[in-house]
């Protein structure tokens, strides 16, 4: 008795017929792939941070640098200043976001599973991040906790991201390695505000994602 093969069986069957068997195991073969590209950065901490800032500015990101000696004590004031200058007062943060880093004078929207409509009211979202890459000016959000749910980091027009200086790696391979343990959680990498070059290759800042990105750098190198 023959049964009609499912699409899965047929596709896998076609693959197996086409491929010659290999004597080495998949794992051994994968491990033997040569990786002679740069996997570890060469810059010292100071130069690495300089590079990160240079790349952020190149992408039209606003960068606020807090003194290394002040630790996290000036974050709340810095957030208040940024919001004041941007004339924004509807700030959303995740419910897990540290209270100490929030301006006391402001009524903050706490995301504890809010609906899309409730999130859409916010003008600004404030998050931390998991890691950052200097060479490309990239911030890694591993969503959940103080880094926010995906929708909350996406709908507001302005994203303020707090980056601890020791979260900044020089290269992409180092940053991906740093977040590997969380790689099955939702992750967004952000390199500047949303942009398009679809019309005559002219870069336009701000399409559907946040149109402005501000980075607050704090902590020791």
């Amino acid at each position: 008795m023959t049964t009609i093969p499912t699409a899965r069986e047929e596709i896998l069957g076609r693959i197996r017929t086409a491929l010659p068997g290999t004597p080495t195991s998949v794992e051994t073969s994968h491990a033997s792939i040569a990786r002679s590209y740069n996997r570890i950065g060469r810059l010292d901490r100071h130069a690495c941070l300089e590079l990160f800032i240079d790349r952020l500015v190149d992408y039209d990101t606003d960068v606020i640098q807090l003194e290394t000696a002040t630790g996290d004590t000036l974050i709340a004031q810095s957030v208040a200043d940024i919001l004041h200058n941007a004339n924004e007062d509807r700030l959303i943060v995740d419910e897990a976001f540290p209270q100490d880093w929030l301006p006391e004078t402001l009524a903050v929207i706490r995301d504890n599973g809010l609906s899309t409509e409730q999130i859409d009211v916010a003008q600004t979202v404030l998050t931390t991040c998991e890691a950052a890459t200097a060479a490309t000016g990239t911030i890694f959000l591993v969503h959940g906790g103080a880094q926010g749910r995906r929708a909350a980091t996406l709908l507001p027009d302005h994203h303020i991201c707090i980056v601890r200086r020791d979260q900044v790696y020089e290269l992409i391979p180092e940053s991906l390695a740093a977040i590997a343990a969380s790689s099955t959680l939702p992750i967004t990498t952000i390199s500047g505000p949303s942009a398009t070059a679809d019309i005559e290759m002219t870069r336009i800042r701000g399409v559907h994602g946040p149109r402005r990105l501000t980075v607050i750098l704090y902590g020791a190198l």
Binding site: L19, R55, E200
Partner: protein
């Protein structure tokens, strides 16, 4: 199984379509302008990477390894996606993939409400003509990538892998948006047009319950999926809806999370000349409380397994759809993408499109190249496109020779005759003598002009030197008679 790649079955041969495209000055200006800008940007961004060649080589090795163990990695990937709460579907061809998508959409659509989906740019959905199938089933697909909106609203076809509306300038885009979005006062600055798209789509992102995406990379050992984009429409489509359907060619796998470090460095610099594109989204199955509640992944074959048999052909599946070869190609830059008759245009389209369809369609595409090699040079995964073009030309010729008309065709007869002539020096010299007499009527100012038949396709546009009045061999023979003594003296010195 019936492989479908866009509208290639109805497309005219490349030489015919190219002639039409070359007469469109506006199109040529737009394509020249856009490809020129991306090429220059890419060059700068590649130049600043000291390890670019190492990255290319590793990318090629990883893809080669993955394809050699594709069954293993697909099963591992399927297992991990389902373990994380996703549902994996397998589709042999375009029709099966569309049928699966339509069934999923109907399953989650509310009775009495029009079924609609928001889509983030996926070339694979264009390959299987998903929008046509959805519309046929009464489902409204809303493209959300700016360029895809331009193409969809203009009833157009994508002409570039990365910038599908690259053939349209801002004024042409404004006309389309004015009409379709009902904005009579819309300006023509790119920023006006992007803002119009933002306002038009915002409500749809917040309201539409089903999203459709492609997949740039699937990570086999974790089940994670990556979508690469710039505008934020990708983030919207994979985050906001309750249901997410992702369509993925079976070759889009990488074995491990670590392998992404290679491709995430190569792709943005090659595609748009950016160090990194604004957004990459990663997700694994379902995450309670964040994003879609239901995730369906459609794994698509549609001819891909046919390319696995032969190593030269298999390499085409390395492609990560960056579009660098299009921008580098002197043929693409003159004709634009539509002349290829396939949503995969340019050099990669010229090898991918005919191979997916077992050379049943698009047989003129492997000839749409001067074999200059610029595509190979810029390819971030080192696909040897010129070699593959030659391989496919050989395959097409051998197939044609098996048919009655092909075997008795003038080209085959001429080539067979030439092959026989080249086998014997006597025949070769006789042919030379014949040509010297025969060419007299075509000689103009030291060149051959207006040759008859197929040879005329060459002489119409290019110079062809006549066969000289005596050959090197004639000269050598004569010289031997005159200076035997001197010749032997030279030999002694050696």
């Amino acid at each position: 199984m019936k492989v479908v790649v866009g509208k290639t079955a109805q497309a005219p041969d490349f030489p015919i379509a190219a002639k039409i495209a070359l007469k469109n000055d506006q199109l040529r200006r737009n394509v020249h302008n856009a490809t020129g800008i991306i090429r220059a940007r890419r060059a700068i961004r590649v130049e600043e990477m000291p390890d670019w060649e190492d990255l290319r080589q590793t990318a090629n090795d990883i893809k080669d390894h993955t394809l050699a163990h594709l069954d293993h990695y697909l099963i591992q990937f399927e297992h991990n996606v389902e373990r994380a709460g996703g549902k994996v579907h397998w589709a042999r061809d375009a029709a099966e993939a569309n049928k699966i998508a339509i069934e999923i959409i109907r399953q989650y659509s509310v009775d009495g409400q029009p079924a609609e989906v928001i889509k983030v740019k996926t070339m694979t959905s264009d390959e299987i003509q998903m929008n046509v199938a959805l519309e046929h089933a009464g489902i409204n697909p809303i493209e959300t990538d700016l360029a895809d909106m331009i193409v969809q609203m203009g009833n157009d076809e994508p002409s570039h892998i990365i910038v599908p509306a690259l053939h349209k300038n801002r004024f042409e885009v404004r006309e389309i948006f004015r009409e379709k979005m009902n904005l009579p006062d819309l300006g023509d600055q790119p920023v006006d047009l992007a803002n119009a798209a933002r306002h038009y789509l915002r409500d749809k992102f917040l309201r539409v319950k089903i999203g459709v995406s492609g997949v740039n990379f699937g990570v086999a050992d974790s089940g994670a999926i990556c979508v690469v984009e710039s505008e934020g429409n990708g983030r919207m489509c994979v985050t906001m809806p309750d249901v997410l359907i992702s369509l993925m060619g079976i070759e889009k796998l990488v074995p491990t999370w670590q392998d992404l470090e290679v491709f995430l460095q190569l792709l943005p610099r090659s595609a748009t000349g950016e160090r990194m594109n604004p957004y990459n989204s990663f997700w694994t199955g379902i995450t309670p409380g964040d994003g879609p509640k239901h995730f369906h992944l459609i794994l698509l074959d549609n001819g891909r397994t046919d390319l696995l048999h032969d190593e030269r052909e298999r390499e085409t599946l390395n492609c990560i759809r960056c579009g660098a070869c299009l921008n580098a190609c002197p043929v693409y830059r003159e004709t634009g993408g539509h002349a290829y008759g396939s949503i995969y245009s340019g050099p990669i389209g010229a090898i991918l499109t005919p191979q997916l369809q077992s050379l049943d369609h698009s047989r003129s595409l492997p000839y749409a190249s001067s074999l200059c090699g610029a595509c190979y040079e810029v390819c971030p995964v080192k696909i040897n496109i010129p070699e593959t073009l030659i391989h496919l030309r050989g395959k097409i010729v051998r197939e044609d020779q098996k048919t009655f008309t092909g075997a008795l065709g003038i080209e085959n007869l001429a080539m067979q005759a030439i092959a026989r002539i080249f086998l014997s020096h006597r025949r070769y010299e006789a042919a030379q003598r014949l040509a010297r007499v025969g060419q007299l009527v075509f000689k103009r100012k030291g060149q051959l002009a207006n040759l008859p038949g197929m040879a005329g396709d060459w002489t119409k546009f290019r110079d062809l030197r006549p066969v000289p009045s005596y050959s090197f061999r004639d000269w050598w023979k004569q010289r031997g008679n005159e200076s035997t003594a001197k010749d032997s003296a030279t030999k002694e010195v050696r």
